[in-house]
Symmetry: C2
Subunit: 401 residues, 2 copies
């Protein structure tokens, strides 16, 4: 089978290694690798097929184009053209799928080819294929997941070594776990895109990432971690989405996770995806959410699906779009912090408006764990407290439930 690879970054070089390593079992010929500057890669494996001209790839009559450029453009144009030319496509590009997934799947179907994207969620963890094929008989009603290795690494460092957010981010950048501009990771955008792909496949409705409530980890303070420890919890950036009577509720946000929850055990660059099916119950997939070789392994599995003619496309991306509810509408717990508080007044408001509240610290600030009928009830209480100037500032971290 003949393939062309767009891009020669870390994941592409992982893929090339696996293809070479399995040469005797699977005859996959790399016909072209698209890079911006050929001379920069001249010392690398398969340098003889490097090109900076996309036409060279299309002229090679390849069976599969593997897109590992990232970004929306020109990846989208290249893949659209590939599918229209009846070339199968493998991509790890979650940004593009989150945006153009529906259109690309439609074009693939019209042309009798397929688009595969296992590596777009959870790095090397095999999760999309099990979700689509092995859980097909199940109605999936919820997903809880750690989908971003960078933020999980930062939060693990803050927890284990009592670092500030800035210190932990700096370490992550030095070790190559975070990019120079970490916005997409730390603000939850990356996890949101992955959660939208998982939710679309699981609920069989088109769900866009910008419709989730998204909150980053950049405001998490050592003090929050300290309280979390005191409560027998960790703080994790969790993507959660739920469907109930056709309505989807979803977020990516830092939440308290109890130490007895398997999600709390997933540290550093590891990811976890927990889905709940009506027949199967809860099933979890855990592994490295990023990295050259792990992600390369997932891309390679997609390539083999095409090699073995397992060519099914996923219809969910072309289903109707649903609105996503951003606040938690069921009973929930949260940690609230109030700076410069009028303690008695705040406690009285919380006692009045919520189900239960328990003060866990009252030195220079007031920290309270509340139990509320919904997140709105918590927000209303905080608004009332602020409107009455009972504190100078406040923060809220929900508990995962």
């Amino acid at each position: 089978m003949k393939i062309g690879i767009l891009g020669y970054g870390t994941v592409a070089s992982g893929l090339v290694d696996i293809i070479d390593n399995n040469k005797d079992k699977r005859d996959i010929s790399i016909e072209g690798i698209l890079v911006r500057d050929v001379s920069k890669h001249a010392h690398r494996k398969h340098a003889e097929v490097l090109t900076s001209d996309i036409e060279d790839i299309f002229n090679k009559d390849v069976d599969v184009i593997v897109e590992l450029l990232g970004g929306l453009h020109p990846s989208y144009e290249y893949l659209k053209r590939a599918l229209e030319n009846k070339i199968n496509v493998v991509t790890a590009n979650k940004d593009m799928l989150a945006e153009f997934g529906g259109e690309l799947v439609s074009i693939a179907k019209e042309n009798g080819v397929c688009i595969k994207f296992e590596a777009s969620v959870g790095g090397g963890i095999p999760v999309l294929k099990p979700l689509i094929e092995s859980l097909e008989g199940n109605e999936i009603d919820s997903i809880s997941a750690i989908l971003n290795g960078t933020t999980n690494f930062i939060l693990s460092k803050m927890y284990d070594e009592n670092l500030s957010y800035d210190e932990a981010l700096k370490q992550a950048q030095e070790l190559g776990f975070a990019e120079a501009n970490p916005e997409s990771d730390v603000m939850g955008y990356d996890a949101g895109r992955k959660l939208s792909i998982l939710s679309t496949l699981s609920f069989k409705k088109r769900i866009y990432w910008k419709d989730f409530y998204l909150e980053g980890i950049n405001n998490i303070e050592p003090k929050d971690i300290e309280y979390a420890k005191q409560l027998g919890c960790k703080i994790k950036l969790v993507g959660r989405s739920k469907i109930n009577n056709g309505k989807v509720n979803g977020y990516v946000r830092p939440v308290l996770v109890g130490n007895d929850d398997i999600i709390s055990k997933i540290d550093n660059e590891f990811n976890i995806i927990v889905v709940n099916g009506d027949f199967l119950g809860e099933v979890s997939f855990v592994g490295k959410g990023a990295g050259k070789d792990a992600t390369g392994s997932a891309v390679y599995a997609d390539v083999l699906d095409i090699y073995d003619h397992r060519l099914n496309n996923v219809d969910a991306f072309i289903k109707e779009k649903v609105d996503v509810d951003k606040v938690v509408s069921h009973e929930c717990k949260a940690l609230l912090r109030f700076k410069k508080p009028q303690k008695d007044k705040i406690i009285s408001v919380l006692k009045d408006k919520l189900i239960d509240s328990k003060v866990i610290a009252q030195d220079d600030e007031l920290a309270v764990v509340v139990d509320a009928p919904s997140e709105c009830a918590i927000n209303d209480s905080i608004k009332f407290i602020k409107d009455n100037n009972y504190c100078e500032d406040s923060s809220k971290i929900l508990k995962l439930s």
Copy 2:
């Protein structure tokens, strides 16, 4: 597609529910259900296709036979005949696969049909398909797993409620988690069979379950659990197999698992399978290891693979058999207990023969955590202690490493 089902126990009734539930999406017609006594099932769904005569199933020209009878005979004969008649086969029967897997796969290949068995390991957890298809590019070098829900339930009860083994077993039996004759579960035979299937698929060599070192949980005492807690561990019945330079080392036995290990988080009827691939790193699959609906979901996924013409067979079962080394040959830790001990003499033997040893209790018995160059070194020390009558009795629990 037309199917025949052999057996109408819990898993079969889960399967029937899923088929009925998904009728509008997948046109699967149940043509026959083989039971011993038709009258006993006359009140159930699809009673009109019940039969006690296997010929009725073979006469129906079915595309798939789903075997959920369990046991070796006559399941083996039925499936052999089905494959020879070019009928695809789905089975959840790990006993039969462990014994006759190679022969059945060969017959399937000769006849251009396939045999699928996702539900034989890990109940509803999708693990065999990801292992075979999604991890194909990886060399897998180790597996660690909790593969038996009954024993995990018993050990969880012992840990959480300080019950004795007998009390916990009784509870498990009352709740339907353990059978009247629990031997196959509690002695590790069931987990051993599943580990042999996983190891065969992962290492691509034929591995038989009786070649593993197998030790049950029936000798675990509340005192062992108490020590485990003291050491920040749980005791879990773990199946572990490793390949190194073509040599396989493997066991199913109760081991100490540190609280920071994800395996320690898997309680009650849940199972976990952790595999380590050279490209992917460690990936884990977690879910319910048994139960009507969960296992039915896995059988249904196999049926859909045939429906969608994903018909690949697994060659590993017809590969050469390898010998399995039963003792841990690398550095390891263990908890040793000595009854009626001559304490100083025992401690001096351990200090002499092993790397390190730490006394953790010395009331009516001596309990020591040792660090040893290999399990043989530990066994030799114990033998020396016993030969010299330095104690009346002893026990050993390895730590998972």
